[in-house]
Amino acid sequence: GAGVSQSPRYKVAKRGQDVALRCDPISGHVSLFWYQQALGQGPEFLTYFQNEAQLDKSGLPSDRFFAERPEGSVSTLKIQRTQQEDSAVYLCASSLRNYNQPQHFGDGTRLSIL
């Protein structure tokens, strides 16, 4: 498909487990963003990549959150030692050029921590 693809769509984990969420951006898109969307709220910024460089990680809530994009395309968001407050939808967005707009979103991964 031509859109942003995220996997898995749903993830259930027990508190304390590590999880990894994958994002396949639109082919050729330079910029990649991760957002966290709590139930009934707007998405909140987590981190931003331009190609393989992580230029901004100011939104990551703790050092348990880690993101990478080693080859400048696919990105992985990893959460270590998950906690209940990590339950949310994690959205990935990509954009074509350095201006970073418009951003095209995937359908997200819904993470539930038991």
């Binding site: 709220q41 707007g42 901004d56 970073n100 707009q101 979103f105 359908d107």
Partner: protein
């Protein structure tokens, strides 16, 4: 810190009516203002966006009105249809500055009655 305030939280409109959603921002460095539409289980999809050098932009039934001095912008949906029932988010970003991520409002759940 809520940099983009959105109202109302929910809105019910009759088919054929006009839906109006309002947003206010604080950061005068913002120079890109998009509106996103989100259906349940889906990622946000860009509807329309405006830069601060114009006061109004229209695309089909959707119009953004922008008031730079008041730091406010609004979305008008003309001839609202039941298929428009969704959650709408305003957002803001800096095209040329360092804060290239989108800052979202808290969302408006729109219901269009048949």
């Amino acid at each position: 810190q809520q940099q983009v305030k959105q109202s109302p939280q929910s809105l019910i409109v009759q088919k054929g009516g006009i839906s109006i959603i309002n947003c206010a921002y604080e950061n005068t460095a913002f120079d890109y203002f998009p509106w996103y539409q989100q259906f349940p289980g889906k990622g946000p999809a860009l509807l329309i966006a405006i830069r601060p050098d114009v006061s109004e932009k229209k695309e089909g039934r959707f119009t953004i009105s922008f008031n730079k001095s008041a730091k406010q912008f609004s979305l008008h949906i003309m001839d609202s249809q039941p298929g428009d029932s969704a959650t709408y988010f305003c957002a803001a970003a800096q095209i040329s500055g360092s804060a290239r991520q989108l800052t979202f409002g808290s969302g408006t759940q729109l219901t269009v009655l048949p």
